[in-house]
């Protein structure tokens, strides 16, 4: 699997290259500026791009803008965006086209190599990887008044929904919560009924539906 990596800090770029290569990814390019990333994405046609939000020369949100432009040119191009901070605003922009293949994670998540690599694979396969912090922000807003549908979920259902919104499959959720996959499927069905969402067999469509629901304005 070919990866284009954009990160301006040498230590982190180097670390990411080693980490990804150790997990059998092929690094097509590891660049450090926005224009280089733009070129690499256009010319190398990677299977997935791992991109830092903030890149030279402007040190603003150059990486994010590059990724969004690349996805407009090639819809569904898998992009995993990394940042020192996560913002619901950026998550919303990344998810706006509704085509999946999007990841948005804190750089801290790199500490857990297994989970990080899993997230890269998921995104490359067209799935979703949302940072738990984004999900918590969304949930905190949703359950502000203690009256909404989210507040009617049982604690376990809420746990399942958090993991689902992060983009994990039923199998992964079952593994994480140490329950059977059938139990997870049951929780999922309950969640969708309580939130009034349409059930779908497609994992990623389900994830996007939950995210859209959480992000909807009250």
């Amino acid at each position: 699997m070919r990866v284009v990596l954009a990160e301006d800090l040498f230590l982190l770029r180097d670390g990411l290259v080693r980490l990804l290569e150790a997990h059998d990814f092929e690094i097509a390019a590891a660049v450090e500026t926005g224009p280089e990333l733009e070129r690499a994405l256009a010319e190398l046609e990677p299977d997935v791009a791992v991109v830092d939000v903030r890149l030279p020369p402007t040190h603003t949100d150059e990486g994010l803008q590059c990724a969004l432009r690349a996805r407009r040119r090639r819809p569904g191009l898998p992009v995993l965006v990394l940042s020192q901070h996560v913002e619901q605003l950026y998550a919303r922009e990344l998810l706006a086209d509704g085509t999946g293949g999007i990841g948005y994670l804190l750089k801290d998540r790199v500490f857990d190599a297994e989970q990080f690599v899993d997230a890269v694979r998921r995104v490359a396969a067209g799935g979703t990887a949302m940072d738990p912090q984004v999900i918590q922000q969304l949930l905190a807003r949703r359950s502000g008044d203690g009256q909404g549908p989210v507040d009617r979920l049982t604690p376990r259902e809420r746990e399942v929904m958090e993991l689902m919104a992060q983009g994990r499959s039923n199998a992964a959720i079952a593994g994480k919560l140490v329950v059977t996959e059938r139990a997870v499927a049951k929780h999922t069905a309950n969640i969708f009924v309580k939130l009034g969402l349409e059930v779908s067999d497609d994992d990623n469509r389900r994830v996007l539906a939950v995210l859209a629901y959480l992000d909807r304005d009250r």
Partner: protein, 426 residues
């Protein structure tokens, strides 16, 4: 007009003379009614303050006169090359018309404007008109010499006076022509200077006095001291947070890693547990640093500017918040941007904590060199500057940028806090 000019400089001077005459005429004709109107309205409006009506009209009239004076200042700079500084005290944004009128009357600039109007409608009018007279009057002299003298004499056979020349035959008409030529020469040499006198007069009347400038310096000194105090306090807070937070965690992690090194052969299980703990510590240190950075300068502000930073902030609030932004054509200066962000952030925190609102509206717009921010909520109202509301702090910090803050918060709501900061886009 170009009959008596040969060099290019003379030509441009002639053009300048005609231009000055035209502008002077327009200025004289245009400004006379406005100055008289402004003066009369001001007097009437101020006289009516005691019976109440004047309190409602005075702010409008004074603001109108100020806008008019500002236009004339701009004109003096553009047409006459005379810079006229302006120093009005910030207009307090209070809803009470009496307090507003009183504050305006206490500003010496208001009275200075009135004196200027009086001078402008007399001496100002004459000096503005003079260039046109100097250019047009000689034309009449030439016309008389060319034969007009035959028709202008009055019926009784008395002479027609052109300047000091009585015109009653061709010879005296030529005399008038000669005077006209002399006048035209004077016009050619001095019209520009005469026109400049008008603007110097404006400058003399409208330039703030030493006392006003001294007052301004006092205010600036005070707000600068506040700014220095605030930033020193901020630095102390950051130092303490780093010292007790991330720094302490890094020390602990270093020690743990030392222990791991020692344990790794003897007790691998324990070493593993300790490593996991170290990783948790590093994650916590990172999250503390993140919060600290957010407090110093929010990353979204650096990446996207004020509009999106406030939008991102609104998305974190537990109360539904609508943000509308009209800042077009560039970014604000970084210090203003940061001050505005933290002011809005403070107001939003207040609204969420104290107002009991279930909707908040934030409006940011930049127009005519000012950034206007307003935060409105549908809560219970009763907010006031002072009394530990945090609003006083916001007002003080805005003061550094000559910004002002106004609160409208009747009991029962809604609360609307408005801020204005003069600034340009870059």
């Amino acid at each position: 007009m170009n009959t008596n000019t040969k060099s290019g400089e003379g030509g441009s001077r002639a053009r300048g003379t005609v231009l000055a005459a035209g502008r002077g005429l327009a200025l004289a004709v245009g400004s006379l009614p406005l100055s008289i109107l402004g003066f009369c309205l001001s007097l009437v409006s101020m006289a009516l303050i005691p019976i109440g009506v004047g309190a409602l009209t005075t702010p409008w009239v004074v603001k109108g006169v100020r806008a008019y004076a500002e236009r004339r200042r701009a004109l003096a700079e553009r047409w006459g090359g005379v810079r006229v500084p302006s120093a009005y005290r910030p207009v307090p944004r209070t809803g009470d018309p009496f307090r507003l009128s009183l504050a305006l009357l206490r500003d010496p600039a208001t009275w200075r404007d009135l004196r200027w109007l009086l001078v402008d409608m007399t001496a100002g009018f004459v000096t503005a008109l003079l260039p046109a007279v100097l250019v047009l009057y000689p034309l009449e002299g030439f016309a008389l010499a060319a034969g007009l003298w035959r028709v202008v004499g009055d019926g009784d056979g008395g002479a027609y006076w052109y300047g000091f020349v009585p015109v009653d035959d061709q010879a005296s008409a030529f005399g008038a022509g000669a005077l006209a030529a002399a006048l035209l020469f004077v016009a050619h040499r001095h019209t520009l200077n005469v026109f400049r006198v008008h603007f110097l007069l404006t400058a003399a009347m409208l330039t703030p006095s030493q006392a006003e400038l001294a007052e301004r310096v006092r205010v600036l000194t005070e707000s600068r001291r506040d700014a220095v105090d605030t930033s020193a306090a901020e630095l102390r807070r950051i130092e303490r947070d780093l010292h007790d937070g991330a720094q302490a965690r890094l020390v602990a992690m270093g020690m743990d890693l030392g222990t791991v090194e020692m344990l790794v052969d003897k007790d691998p299980e324990k070493a593993k547990a300790l490593l996991a703990q170290t990783r948790r510590s590093s994650a916590e240190a990172l999250s503390e640093l993140r919060d600290l950075v957010r407090g110093i300068h929010p990353p979204v502000l650096a990446e996207r500017g004020l509009g999106d930073a406030v939008r991102a902030l609104a998305l974190r609030l537990p109360v539904a918040t609508e943000v509308s932004v009209e800042i077009e054509g560039g970014r604000l200066d970084a210090p203003v941007e940061s001050a505005a962000y933290f002011a809005v952030s403070e107001l939003l925190t207040n609204a969420v904590k104290h107002s009991g609102a279930d909707r908040i509206w934030v409006d940011l717009r930049h127009e005519s060199g000012r950034l206007r921010l307003s935060v409105t909520d549908d809560g219970t109202g009763g907010a006031a500057i002072g009394a530990g509301s945090g609003l006083a702090g916001v007002e003080r910090r805005l003061g550094t940028f000559d910004g002002v803050l106004a609160v409208s918060s009747p009991a029962g709501g809604p609360t609307m806090v408005t801020m204005e900061i003069p600034c340009v886009l870059s």
